[in-house]
């Protein structure tokens, strides 16, 4: 993978992630949850881009973020990367699993809450991760 691909993937992840955060957490914090109508449709429409971005970032960045390997990234940035991946996995799965007939009402509700709070964790992790990358001028 070249540097541009890595940056592009991260950019896709961030842009899609912030859009999802704005619609999702924004509705939760400022509006009347749960999301409905156009906001929900926009949220769901952008979700695949986020998922693809996350997968691409996982593939392009993970080797750099291994522990015990020489890398331009500082330790906290590496740790946050793994938090982002883990939270991203939970967010995507808790978003898509409710669309399958696997869980009942209680399970669906649990997944809904899981989606909400893992998304908050993910957003916070990305928000902390970004400045760390900017300071270190990382080229994957």
């Amino acid at each position: 993978m070249n540097r541009a691909t890595g940056k592009f993937c991260y950019a896709v992840l961030c842009v899609a992630g912030f859009f999802l955060a704005a619609t999702g957490i924004g509705t939760f914090a400022l509006g009347k949850p749960p999301m409905t109508h156009w906001v929900l449709m926009a949220h769901v429409a952008v979700a695949p881009f986020f998922a693809l971005g996350l997968a691409a970032v996982a593939l392009t960045w993970s080797d750099l973020c291994r522990g015990g390997v020489e890398s331009p990234l500082i330790g906290p940035a590496k740790a946050l990367f793994w938090v982002i991946l883990l939270a991203g996995l939970v967010v995507t799965l808790s978003g898509v699993v409710p669309m399958t007939p696997l869980f009942g009402t209680k399970g669906e509700h649990f997944l809904y809450l899981t989606h909400r709070y893992s998304a908050i964790v993910l957003t916070v992790a990305i928000l902390f991760h970004l400045p760390m990358l900017a300071r270190r001028r990382v080229n994957p």
């Binding site: 749960p34 409905t36 109508h37 156009w38 929900l40 449709m41 769901v44 429409a45 979700a47 695949p48 998922a51 693809l52 996350l54 997968a55 996982a58 593939l59 993970s62 291994r66 522990g67 015990g68 793994w82 991946l85 883990l86 991203g88 996995l89 995507t92 799965l93 978003g95 898509v96 409710p98 669309m99 399958t100 007939p101 696997l102 869980f103 009942g104 009402t105 669906e108 509700h109 809904y112």
Partner: protein, 684 residues
Amino acid sequence: MRQIQSQFSHLEPGHGKGWFLTCIIRPARHLVLAALGLWFYFILCDSRAEDVHTESRTPFLHNIPLHDTQGRVITPPPILGEDGKPQEPKANPYSTALTCGKCHDYDAISQGWHFNADAGTAKPGRPGEPWILTDPATHTQIPISYRGWAGTFKPSDIGMTDFQFVTNFARHFPGGGAGEPGKIKSSDPEMGRMLITGTLEMDCLICHQTMGRYDHEARYNALKAQDFRWAPSVAAGLGLFASFRNAGSIADSWHPGRPVPSALPAINYNRARFDPGNNVLFQVSRRAPVNNCYYCHTTETELGDARWHSDLDVHIKAGLLCVDCHRNGLDHAIVRGYEGESKDRTITDTAIDLRTHLVRRDNAAINEDDARKLARRQLDSEGGMIETLTCRGCHMDGRLGSPRLVHKGMPPIHFEKLSCTACHSGPLPASEPQVVHTSMAHQLGLPAPERGRNMAPVIVEPIFLRGEDGKIAPYKMVWPSYWARLNGTNLAPMLPAEVAKTATLPQPSSDDVARDPYNTKPLTDGQIEQALKSFAAGSSNGEPVFIAAGKLYRIENGALSARENPAGKPYAWALAHDVRPASQALGARGCADCHASDSPMYFSTVSARGPVEAKDDLTREMWEMRGDNRSTASFFAFTFYFRPMLKCIVFAAAFVVLCVLMHYGLRGVGSMTARASATKKEKS
């Protein structure tokens, strides 16, 4: 009383006791007489129930004496009279108030939901099925209710008296309420008739008999003849009305204010119903059988001969009774079963009285005021129990063996946006709502020529509207149709009798009557215009107009105009039955049951129905009926085409992320264990 008078006769003024007699003895005598009078009154006329209860789940054998309206035990005369001649078993009709009321508190029962509409003591709650004043000849169909539900008229609003209400609707009205006024003025030309016809007492057997011998048709015929007092006896099969002249015709020849004829018809009793002890066996149950409820609460979705296609409610099929959920205590404040009902319940003084009695029975030390407060608190807290008898309440708790809610794959937002009934109740929605018949509107349960799909009033379901709680629920809907006079903004509907007198409405030929007994042929514009002009010529009480199919018809500049008008707005009430099994609920076949570009929930078309030609009729799509946004609904439905792709992408991406996490996670674990073993080797 004579004895008492003689006891005091030596104290009369003529016996020389002066002031003592005037000031002490005479008032004392009056007091004693009054007390004795009151005592006799309570002994003879007290209609309060006796305080005897079995309190067992075994129904009490109701082998009981009948009482007439005077409280006298009904005893048919012996077969042979003193002169040896055969005698007919004639006697007064029985009174439910004084027969059933002997043990069951009739006054408390009269507070019940089925009887209290006219009293105005109960909150109206969620709009329910109205009575619909229907007259095919004048094409009138006016939703009526004493409860004041928006979109209905109170009888008094349209000039209908309580007596007229009773004569129109008693066929499916269990009595009490408007049929049993507290006081009858003999000078009132209509209500005064009840001095002869009798009042329409609550007929307990309509709901509680289990013998299957209650004759609704006989009751209907008796009520048509205004034999109100006799109707319960006739309907219960206790006997026949023993006169060629019915109470209505006797009342016709009576003048208000004059003495009531003393010789009113009797009931010719069936001797076989009386045992040697003069008791009559009633097979009754506190838990009313389903078929009894169905007499008034049938909704037939498959009309005519297609009735055999109709599935019953899944609860009935499972063996439940209506009253398993729609319960009531002695006050007969029956649980209607919708969510939020507890807020709409009225705790009446009678209910508090009853509960206070129980509280004081169980706690003799408590005083009346405290007992009433405690009773009030208890009744308030019982409101929560009512919520456990809703769909959600029952199925959340698994009450009565109900399957617990699962709803696999259904995002929880659906439970915030939809009532349970939206997916589970009524007929499966199609491209148009279907015409249904109800007992109250179409006189189901009474023999009549076959009722077709155009029989007035045309009621359609399911219409998916948003209720006061913001949830989408299925509704029944009917469009009012009536002739009226418009004064400014005030619209005064005319009763059919008035319309028939003045309007020039088309008279169906005898052939038409035979073929179309319900006069379902729609009015043409020309016929409406002609009728409106004939009204205008006859009166200066306001501009004559016709409301039908959502429009207001009037003469403007000499020609007929028809425009949509709020007066023609349909009346809708929520439906809850028949409940379909879960496998037939909306959503059981997937999201596209509702989220498709042609799903009935959003895009079925609803046309205003009425007795007019379907020309330029008002048609709305379902989303429009509830004020939704079409583009949102259709775009949302469109997104479901991409839903499988979305799932594939997201699952694939999640799989990649999971693999990466597992790969590096395991590598990390491997390197840690390698490092640990290397450290161990170094140490050794």
